[in-house]
């Protein structure tokens, strides 16, 4: 039996179908699309919270989505040990829901930015990043207006000490630039994981570069890592 994956669809999600498509392109398995009003989910092994503008990003990105009925199920599955990944708006929702620490602020230059950036894999010993080499440098697109990661000093220290900063913005050579990457993120943080190691949030879009035809495949190992870690658990 293969792992069961789902993508949550909030009103205003717009990368929901992209996530399902990338999952299928990489793993050969379909992912269910789950409407946010669902209040009872089967025990999915992997849940993706996709990018987009849930509830129009009104009030604050992710601030309304965290109250959707489906979120208590996401929380239940996270506690159960299912893998949860929030991409872009999904990352914002995870921080609003308290499943990940910190917050995402308006980009430093106040503009929406859509472009490829480079990331350094800081920890390749997670279920999400095992497919990458140590310190691997990836090229993945960002597309957000509110991606500046921030957290209080104690929280930052906890992330750093726990090896929970998973991705940092970097130059093509893998060296960390000054000044918070493209969006002004604290400590150049692009992606973090929870303490238990099963909930990942990241601003860049791995689903957008998981097929050679689209210009790159650096997102592919991420989906594959999750799939293989789950397949291992299943075998």
């Amino acid at each position: 039996m293969s792992p069961k994956a789902a993508v949550v669809v909030f009103p205003g999600s717009n990368c929901d179908r992209d996530c399902a498509r990338a999952w299928e392109a990489v793993t050969g398995e379909a992912a269910d699309l789950v409407w946010h009003k669902e209040s009872a989910l089967p025990d999915y092994d992997f849940i993706m919270l996709p990018g987009g503008f849930s509830f129009g990003d009104y009030l604050r990105c992710g601030a309304i989505a965290r109250f959707s009925p489906v979120m208590s199920e996401v929380r239940r599955l996270a506690v159960r040990g299912s893998r949860v990944m929030g991409i872009c708006n999904g990352f914002q929702i995870l921080t609003e829901a308290g499943l990940l620490p910190g917050a995402l602020r308006r980009n430093r230059d106040l503009l929406f930015i859509c472009r490829d950036v480079h990331l350094r894999v800081e920890n390749n010993r997670t279920d999400f990043t095992r497919g990458y080499g140590p310190g691997a440098v990836l090229r993945l697109p960002i597309a957000h207006g509110e991606g500046g990661y921030t957290i209080d000093p104690r929280g930052l220290k906890a992330l750093q000490d726990g090896d929970r900063v998973i991705f940092r913005y970097a130059g093509p050579d893998g060296l960390t630039p000054e000044g918070g990457g493209p969006n002004g993120s604290l400590d150049e943080i692009a992606g973090i994981i929870n303490e238990a190691g099963n909930v990942l949030g990241l601003m860049p879009h791995p689903e957008r570069l998981s097929e050679a035809l689209l210009g790159g495949e650096d997102g592919r190992p991420l989906f594959l890592s999750v799939f293989q870690s789950l397949a291992g658990a299943w075998s």
Binding site: P11, G12, N14, C15, D18, R21, A22, W35, K37, G51, G52, F53, F55, G56, D57, Y58, R108, D109, L110, L111, F112, I113, C114, R115, V117, H118, P141, A143, G145, Y169, A170, G171, P172, P177, E178, G179, G180, G181, P182, H205, E207, R208, E211, L213, L214, G215
Partner: protein, 744 residues
């Protein structure tokens, strides 16, 4: 009947002329009442009736084996093969953007997207065509920032990638910017929907947002000139809610997917009035709307306000009565209103009721088809002949060719558009194969391995200086933008922006330009499937440059054959296909150095243009091209520099065309493309060019980190890094927002 109080000129309040009022009374065989006159006011406005352009638009070629749906519907549709079609259309939203750039641009995007999904197509890409005044003042910067942010704010939220476009600056657009929005959607050819109110007894529903007092008479507003005396126009700009549109898009596609709808239409200009009348007109039926049943956002709207409101994010549906509950259920799921507000009738009347009271009753075809068709007088403007003469000494004597190239690459019209397109999500949807920044964007299609190429383009300086030739060049360049990617141009949509048509000189520009456009569309086999006309683009009596923007789509049979503009590898041959002549007229370089718009527009041979496109597509199919790039504004030197910059690869070039260095480097001779090829394939490529009767010149080779060129006595050597810095950053600097160096 409050309008009767103003001394017997009831037509004036509704933007109609006395002759039009008399015609209405004659056609109706009675005096129209206030509500009826309000309906005519918007439906007979230029914006809705095309009364000043219809006669001319009939000259466009609109048919071809590739055309599934020509003009007259919400959008045109062309056949992509494999059971798929592309619905596409461009529309302007100029006047609202002049007054409130963010909302004006945003609602322009919203409107065109609804036109696309009204055909049953899922929107997959947007393009935008923008014109502003000189970027050296805050008015322009405010407009530029507002419009780009508005497009980004709306399109990004919807998850429709903005993949291509154009931005030009010229003082003629100072107070009247142009904002053209194009959208492309994909539809299964057996699942196309149309905007017809078929089936007497079927229910008319309005779905989506509630109706408020916004944008009332926007259609009439679009049909007037702007002037300093316009503060009252402010309420006529609508406000967009992209989140609402996203819900409406998904809910509508869901009901279409379940086949619950007979016909549907976007509620755009003139709101329920135009949509209702047009849907009735297309089916040859009548239709009534009960204003008491329309869900309102606020109390106290008069019936005519409900009928004319341009509140955004609404659609009109015609459905069979037994499908209403299921439609309600789906819209409920998306937390959207869906109300039955009327019925299709067999009487041919467009009727507005409030409960049982009939407020207006007009034969639907009088509103949609019987507006007078104006054949306006034309007069050739004096400037047309006077401006043919030009003195090119400024560029001839410039001498510092490297310095001039750098100036051009940093100039407002030729610098990189990265600052603009990076604010747009151009990747969402996982279809963008060739990203913005090149000649055309290319998307993958569900029918693999096919690809869809998209562009929009217009050089309005050419159109101003020679409308007929300029109109033809706009089509030829759009087609060439597609062909350099390896795509076969299929069809076009146009956004015809002009000044006041009541001015014979403006109308002359319109007739000449559309004649040229029609001629080129025919010669290049790219039929016109729709578009819009925007007149009255003037401010205090000064008209914009005539700007017939062309949006064009093309098809790649196999995405593996696609070609991009960037040089690929050191040691490749650099070539130029097409003929270069001593043509500096109407050029970007002349404008940059003198500030003047003058000289004869470069000649266009439509036969050669067609052969060049065919050659490019065939060369791509045979995999003979490493890169291909359209040679356009700024001439050969700029095209070469753009390919070098995109590929981060220098060149060593030496050639001589027997022309002046200025014309060699910066002249804008038409129907040319810069190519690069593996040396081993040079012979085959040359043979192919001969077969198509096209000159192919070897210019040199790629390599190194310097742009080095020796031609016709000119010598220049510019480090690529220096060129890149100027080219990449100058638009962001001109937009004057806080911009820090690229961090990554």
């Amino acid at each position: 009947m409050n309008a009767r109080a103003d001394g017997g000129a009831p037509w004036r309040e509704h933007g109609l002329t006395e002759e039009e009022y008399r015609l209405i009374a004659r056609l109706m065989e009675r005096e129209p009442n206030y509500e009826e006159l309000a309906l005519f006011g918007v439906m007979w406005s230029e914006h809705c009736s095309y009364k000043n352009s219809k006669a001319q638009l009939r000259k466009f070629p609109t048919a071809g084996p590739q055309v599934i749906q020509g003009p007259g519907e919400n959008a045109g549709i062309v056949d992509l093969g494999g059971g798929w079609g592309a619905a596409f259309k461009i529309e302007s939203h100029n006047h609202p953007s002049a007054i409130e750039p963010y909302q004006g641009a945003a609602t322009g995007i919203g409107g065109i997207i609804r036109d696309i999904f009204a055909m049953g197509a899922r929107p997959v890409a947007s393009l935008d065509s923008l014109r502003f005044g000189s970027p050296d003042n805050n008015r322009t910067r405010r407009l530029l920032n507002g419009v780009v942010a508005g497009i980004a704010g709306y399109g990004n939220c919807l998850g429709i990638p903005t993949v291509a476009g154009e931005v030009y600056f010229h003082p003629s657009y100072q107070e009247n910017p142009l904002v053209g929005a194009m959208c492309v959607g994909l539809v299964k050819t057996d699942r196309i929907f149309r905007g017809a109110a078929a089936g007497v007894g079927n229910v008319v529903m309005v779905v989506g947002a509630r109706t408020g007092r916004d944008g009332i008479k926007g259609a009439s507003f679009a049909s007037e000139e702007l002037s300093d005396a316009d503060p009252d126009k402010r309420p006529q700009v609508q406000v967009g809610d992209p989140f609402m549109e996203k819900l409406l898009l998904e809910a509508t596609l869901e009901i279409l997917d379940r086949n619950l709808v007979v016909g549907l239409q976007d509620l755009g200009a003139a709101g329920l009035t135009s949509s209702g009348a047009e849907m009735a007109g297309r089916a040859g039926n009548g239709l009534y709307i009960d204003v008491a049943k329309v869900p309102l956002r606020e109390d106290g709207l008069a019936p005519w306000e409900i009928m004319l409101s341009e509140s955004q994010e609404r659609m009109l549906l015609v459905v069979e009565p037994d499908k209403v509950p299921e439609i309600r259920k789906i819209f409920d799921k998306w937390d959207l209103a869906a109300a039955a507000i009327g019925e299709v009738t067999g009487d041919g009347f467009f009727t507005v009721r409030r409960g049982r009271e009939t407020l207006a009753q007009v034969p639907a075809d009088l509103l949609t088809d019987r507006a007078p068709v104006n054949l306006r007088p034309v007069r050739e403007p004096e400037y047309f002949k006077a401006r043919k003469k030009a003195d090119f000494q400024a560029v001839m004597n410039y001498g510092d060719w490297g310095g001039l190239l750098k100036r051009l690459l940093a100039s407002p019209n030729l610098s990189s558009r990265r600052w603009v397109y990076e604010q747009y999500d151009h990747l969402v949807g996982l279809n963008t194969v060739i990203r913005p920044g090149g000649d055309a964007a290319v998307l993958r299609l569900p029918a693999a391995p096919r690809g869809l190429a998209l562009t929009c383009d217009c050089n309005s300086r050419y159109v101003y200086l020679n409308p007929r030739l300029g109109g033809a060049i706009a089509v030829a360049e759009a087609a060439r933008n597609l062909a350099v990617t390896g795509a076969r141009p299929l069809a076009l949509t146009n956004c015809l922006n002009f000044g006041n048509p009541e001015n014979p000189e403006i109308y002359w520009q319109f007739v000449e330009a559309t004649d040229g456009l029609a001629e080129a569309a025919l010669a290049l086999d790219t039929p016109v499937t729709g578009g819009n006309v925007s007149f009255y683009n003037e401010y205090n009596g000064r008209a914009i440059f005539p700007t017939p923007t062309i949006g064009m789509i093309g098809l790649l049979d196999d995405l593996a054959d696609r070609v991009t503009a960037d040089f690929k590898a050191p040691g490749d041959l650099v070539l130029l296909v097409g003929e270069t002549r001593e043509e500096l007229g109407a050029s970007e370089v002349h404008h940059l150095l003198t500030g003047r718009d003058e000289g004869e527009v470069p000649a266009l041979d439509l036969g050669a243009a067609r052969r060049l496109n065919d050659f490019l597509v065939e060369a791509a199919r045979r995999r003979l091209l490493r890169s291909a790039h359209d040679c356009a504004e700024g001439g050969l030197a700029v095209a070469l520099a753009e390919s070098a910059l995109a590929g981060r690869l220098g060149v060593e070039l030496e050639f001589d065309f027997g022309l002046s260095p200025a014309a060699t480097l910066f002249g804008e001779s038409q129907s040319r493309a810069v190519l690069s090829a593996r040396a081993a394939q040079a012979e085959e490529l040359a043979g192919l060019a001969r077969d198509f009767g096209l000159p192919l010149a070897r210019l040199g080779r790629t390599g190194g980190a310097v742009f080095r060129l020796q031609a016709g006595g000119a010598l220049l050597a510019v480090p690529l890094a220096e060129m890149a810095r100027l080219h990449e950053n100058s638009l962001a600097e001109k937009a004057a927002l806080t911009v820090e160096p690229r961090a990554v």
